[in-house]
């Protein structure tokens, strides 16, 4: 992820140590000087996100990373960055919570990531990856989306993704969007009128109501234009299994096993979590009979799945928080139980 950021032209990184994401700032500390970029170990998560606020305002491609408790601390700055419509990339390698929790992997920050997190009515573009190769590509794309939409992009990973090792092909950066010139950045006003970046809008004539409407129009546009997901054998599936990030990867392995056993299971793995890929769920609800949502929490994305499907088909849940993660066997058992005996309850609670 850190190398992908470098490849994508990220030249400013500020972060604060927290497990399980220390590998990112450690990599940046040695890599940034090699490419003429800036690495700062900030005095706090709050300072780190505000350094990003400044660096983004100054026009740099910039990034910070942290894990759950640290991301909570960054929420103030994230709200300001979203309000000021500045681009940046933020990574959250989620750990067990609430509170200090533990350092095992978790997906307990889904609500925080996709529903807001900080104060005010704003959205982050939120993406999740199932493999390190995908994380590499999404990280590069994230910088383009951030610049194109002038919006923070959050990479919602977890402690497994943050600490696992697997081969990654270091691909050269190719922009996925044409980025308009940054005509809002602060560089000193030589040859132009002074610019102001601010989020306080007191004057009714300037209009905080209008600014909110403007933001919402942008979010609607992002919802129309940005939607990524993976599907696997959903065409004839009676049961749709769905999970994001590493959980989606585990679920896919279970679906593959189920198919080998002749069970009609299929997978939807959302890659963009906001915007949530509603349409593919709507389509699936027309052909499948049931849904199994697998998460490393006590049921967060399941709400978006039910909303997308308008609760059209029965939905069951497999998941726990606090560092629990599903293995292939647990998901397969849930699939078998749902397809073989419709009334059976599923471990983990509905």
């Amino acid at each position: 992820m850190a190398e992908a950021a470098i490849q994508a032209g990220c030249r400013f990184f500020a972060g604060y140590p927290i497990t399980p994401q220390n590998e990112v700032p450690e990599y940046m500390a040695s890599r940034m000087p090699e490419v003429g970029g800036v690495f700062i170990q900030a005095e706090s998560e709050v300072a780190a996100i505000n350094m990003i606020f400044g660096a983004s305002a100054a026009g740099a491609r910039c990034m910070t990373s942290s894990s759950s408790p640290g991301i909570s601390l960054k929420q103030e700055g994230i709200s300001y960055i979203a309000a000021a419509e500045l681009p940046c990339v933020i990574a959250n390698m989620q750990r067990g919570g609430p509170g200090l929790g533990n350092i095992r992997a978790s997906q307990g920050d889904y609500f925080q990531a996709v529903k807001g997190g900080g104060h005010g009515d704003y959205r982050l573009i939120v993406v999740s990856a199932a493999t390190l190769q995908e994380l590499y590509t999404l990280t590069m794309n994230a910088f383009d989306w951030a610049d194109y939409y002038r919006n923070p992009v959050l990479i919602l990973g977890d402690g497994i993704l943050g600490q696992m090792a697997e081969p990654v092909e270091i691909l050269p950066y190719r922009p996925v969007l044409e980025i308009p010139p940054k005509d809002y950045i602060l560089t000193g006003c030589k040859g132009r009128n002074p610019r102001v970046i601010k989020t306080l809008i007191l004057d009714p004539a300037e209009g905080l109501v209008q600014h909110n409407e403007h933001l919402q129009e942008k979010y609607s546009r992002i919802e129309r234009e940005l939607c990524l997901y993976e599907t696997y054998q959903i065409e004839d599936a009676e049961l749709i299994v769905t999970g994001f990030g590493i959980t989606g990867r585990i679920a896919k392995a279970a679906v593959r096993k189920a198919r080998q056993k002749g069970l009609a299971a299929g997978l939807i793995r959302p890659i963009t979590l906001w915007p949530f890929p509603k349409k593919i769920y709507q389509q699936a609800a027309m052909t499948a009979q049931k849904v199994l949502v697998v998460e490393m929490n006590h049921g967060q994305m399941i709400e978006d799945v039910k909303l997308a499907m308008d609760c059209a088909i029965p939905t069951e849940f497999l998941g726990k928080g606090g560092g629990w993660y599903p293995d292939e066997k647990a998901v397969l058992e849930a699939i078998e139980s749902m397809l073989e005996s419709p009334a059976a309850s599923v471990k983990g609670g509905a």
């Binding site: 700062i40 505000n50 606020f53 400044g54 660096a55 305002a57 602060l186 560089t187 601010k198």
Partner: protein
């Protein structure tokens, strides 16, 4: 004959500041310095949360408004991206010495090559006169109705003295704007703080003791007296650090 002129750095606009407030003077001094150094088009300022949040309505240069207390971190981000630009942070006492204490201390200790203008008026002005970290012992505010010190509020924080202990800091001076002589000295200090940045000397901070008649519930003339007679005793003026890092 000397003629008092407008500076190109301030817009021709009435300010929202109360009668007798020191912010207008400090704005003017910062603007004169930027003008005299010929750096307006290279300068990026940060506006704080507090009375000076609307700084960008008056300054004719690039400005970013920061979250409460975060200006030194934001300024760090800007300066590290554009080391050849001039970055100043304009902050009040609550912003710099309460909610933003960590950002202040660490930006100072890193020796960030920025200029901080710290306006100390011993009170939260914008929110209506609550106790500031620099509120004077015994001073009555809306949150110290019996006077500071009666309920474990602790004594005022002396920012220059505190930062002087950090080896990474280049220049610290406390000034005031409560007499013509003080105003002239404050300008000299502010100019030096900007000059230091141009010369790459590192973190420079100028504290300015300033008046807040509205929230002190004093007349402008009494407020000047309050700075001269009381504040200067707790917050002595002078240079606290001046070194090449």
């Amino acid at each position: 004959m000397a003629v008092f002129k407008r500076t190109t750095v301030l817009k021709e606009q009435l300010t929202h500041y109360c009668p007798g407030c020191g912010h207008g003077i400090v704005h003017r001094l910062v603007a004169e310095v930027i003008d005299e150094l010929g750096i307006r088009e290279q300068t990026i300022g940060t506006a704080p949360v507090g009375c000076a949040v609307l700084l960008y309505n008056y300054f004719n240069c690039d400005i970013i408004e920061c979250a409460h207390g975060r200006s030194p971190a934001v300024a760090t981000g800007i300066k590290r991206v554009h080391p050849d630009r001039i970055v100043f942070a304009y902050q009040g006492d609550g912003d710099l010495a309460a909610i933003g204490t960590a950002e202040t201390i660490h930006a100072a200790n890193r020796g960030e090559n920025i200029t901080v203008i710290f306006v100390n008026n011993a009170i939260y002005g914008m929110t209506g006169g609550q106790m500031a970290p620099t509120t004077m012992p015994g001073q009555i505010t809306t949150t110290t109705p019996q006077g500071r010190g009666c309920h474990k509020e602790g004594p005022p924080i002396k920012v220059c003295e505190l930062l002087a202990a950090l080896d990474g800091v280049s220049y610290l001076e406390r000034t005031a704007v409560s007499s013509p002589r003080d105003v002239m000295n404050a300008k000299k200090a502010i100019k030096k703080a900007f000059q230091n940045q141009i010369e790459g000397k590192g973190f420079s901070l100028v504290e300015v003791l300033s008046m807040c008649p509205t929230d002190w519930k004093l007349s402008p003339a009494q407020s000047v007296e309050f700075v001269n007679e009381k504040m200067k005793k707790i917050f002595p003026l002078g240079v606290f650090k001046d070194q090449q890092i």
